[in-house]
Chain length 373, copies 2
Amino acid sequence: MTDHLGVLALTRRTHEMRVLAALRSRGPSSRAQLAEATRLSRTTLSEIVADLVGRGAVVVTDTDAAQRRGSGRPAALLALDPGSAQFLGLDFGHRRVALAIADPSHEVVAQAEVSYDEGSGWDERVERAVALARRLAKEHHLHFGALQGMAAGVTGRSRTAAEPVVARLLAEAFDVDVTVDNNVRFAGLAEASERGSRSSHAIYLHLSDGVGGAVVVDGRLHQGADRVAGEFGHVVVRADGELCRCGKRGCLETVAGIEALAEADPVQLGRAADAVGTVLGAAVMILNPDLIVVGGRVPAERPEILPLIESAVHEGTAGSAGSRPEVRAAVCGPFAGARGSLIAAIHESPLLAGYDGTVFPTVQRETSRRAIG
Amino acid sequence: MTDHLGVLALTRRTHEMRVLAALRSRGPSSRAQLAEATRLSRTTLSEIVADLVGRGAVVVTDTDAAQRRGSGRPAALLALDPGSAQFLGLDFGHRRVALAIADPSHEVVAQAEVSYDEGSGWDERVERAVALARRLAKEHHLHFGALQGMAAGVTGRSRTAAEPVVARLLAEAFDVDVTVDNNVRFAGLAEASERGSRSSHAIYLHLSDGVGGAVVVDGRLHQGADRVAGEFGHVVVRADGELCRCGKRGCLETVAGIEALAEADPVQLGRAADAVGTVLGAAVMILNPDLIVVGGRVPAERPEILPLIESAVHEGTAGSAGSRPEVRAAVCGPFAGARGSLIAAIHESPLLAGYDGTVFPTVQRETSRRAIG
């Protein structure tokens, strides 16, 4: 049985993609030029363009009067609106929210962060985030009229009570669907998408106060059946180990979190690396990634653990038919969560949903632009 | 940067999907009716229809003369050709090849198997498979003129030397792209797609002479960076365990393969179940599946291991934010590999590649049709 509605929705998206792609590559174009470039019927093209103009993603810039030879009324030239903010990524930490904005070409055009008290509620936190987004938009001459999608990371385990609250508050403020997820998972997505070592099949392990992670499959964040994939911290590594806050004994978190390792001697560090290597080794055999990124306070404060983890992984995966994954420390820094949210928002966009992993934001370029911190 | 060619190819596929979907739901239709149903321009529709007719997927059945009121030439009625075999799935075992054929509605219309000597080479095996396919097609009044895709499973670890040979021989015989992969992985895909317990996020563990498996993510077989994901058998479960054929010590295969368990006492069986539970428990925390299927000779010959595995998995995943995955024995039987190949061929089809997991073959219905064995 075929999902006919699904096909129609997908077709609609690909039509929009074709029009936006043509405007990106051609620059300002008349409707006739767009019809030729996209091979869409005039009726279909009119509908798509009207919708894009209505949402503010496309603007009428000029007419072709200057370059026109023949007779007749000059045709309007359409262009992408460079001032429209298309995607918004947020990362709510314990004491601050970080934010990144992408334009229609999926480039990050602005990013910033603002602090709040650790005890502040979600109303307060979201209000700060919204005010920051509006201030940033004003400073960069951006508008949210064509906002396509938005995602926000929150601390703690996935599917916490906060998620629906944050989603509702942000959706009310920006009138767009919002994806809310764990910010460690978004950081993992940012790390896997990093230019220079971009990977379609990556594992991110976050060793900090808590231990968590993310799995990237085919360039996308793997969600799992209940959207809680990536619980690396609660894989059991010692049958009769310490009691974990989750109620089990011997979870990876009890062995490889910052509490256990901040002042660990080399022997303890080696044992922790072996435990991490066991879990990552199993993950490598099961998932066959080409990249493992380790982030959080542990590799930041005890960088000597990284080569130990790397050799433990290699030992546990020797003889595999797959090639050895690269093992490296996280590089995305304090905006990793916000950038990952942004990438997830782009992935979740209905406009791009049928567009299988080939659109990636060039989130790296913002370093050459002004970052407001 | 946008992949313009990718968008055009995807659009082309969705156009084809719309035409095929309209023919499936409407039955025989004129070009004018198809243009209205699909909202495609006449030029685009003509191109798509000509191509589908050329490939034999669509046939001209009749004209609308009988139902016509107005004047003018009667219009031709187009229909799906029910006699065209669209997808072919094969499973090459040590001593036999199994085969399944799907029609344009993705239903399995024929399946059968034929044996060969264990020592026979690939030329011989593929020749048997091709002869069987042709005989089956003749008996079921099918033709391969519109064959869209084909996949074949082979024994042993993925990416063996056999894969390119098999792919070449089959591609030459049927003039279509062939996906070759490990047949255990294809069996896993079939199990995850089984009607009644269809799962988008599943783990398949195969405990037999060897130990292998498959990971299904978003309804698709997870491949990994080198297409070797699912190496469950070579996850280390005992630091100083028995030497494994892969060169490491204490792999799951040394503990939970049929050789270790065929005559095991309850204590050994319990220990093996614990080892399996450790690996599956880690996989559940990392991947958050809602289904685990255990297949192969071990659960067939020692079914009492299944509840032991189930409780070991639940123990290792207590306190997870996700819900408990169902743990069950394999149900697809001897045609699991061929049916999984068929599903993979449909997934791999360029025609359906942009069509995100929503098309599943109704592979179950062939039980009510004649199976030639």
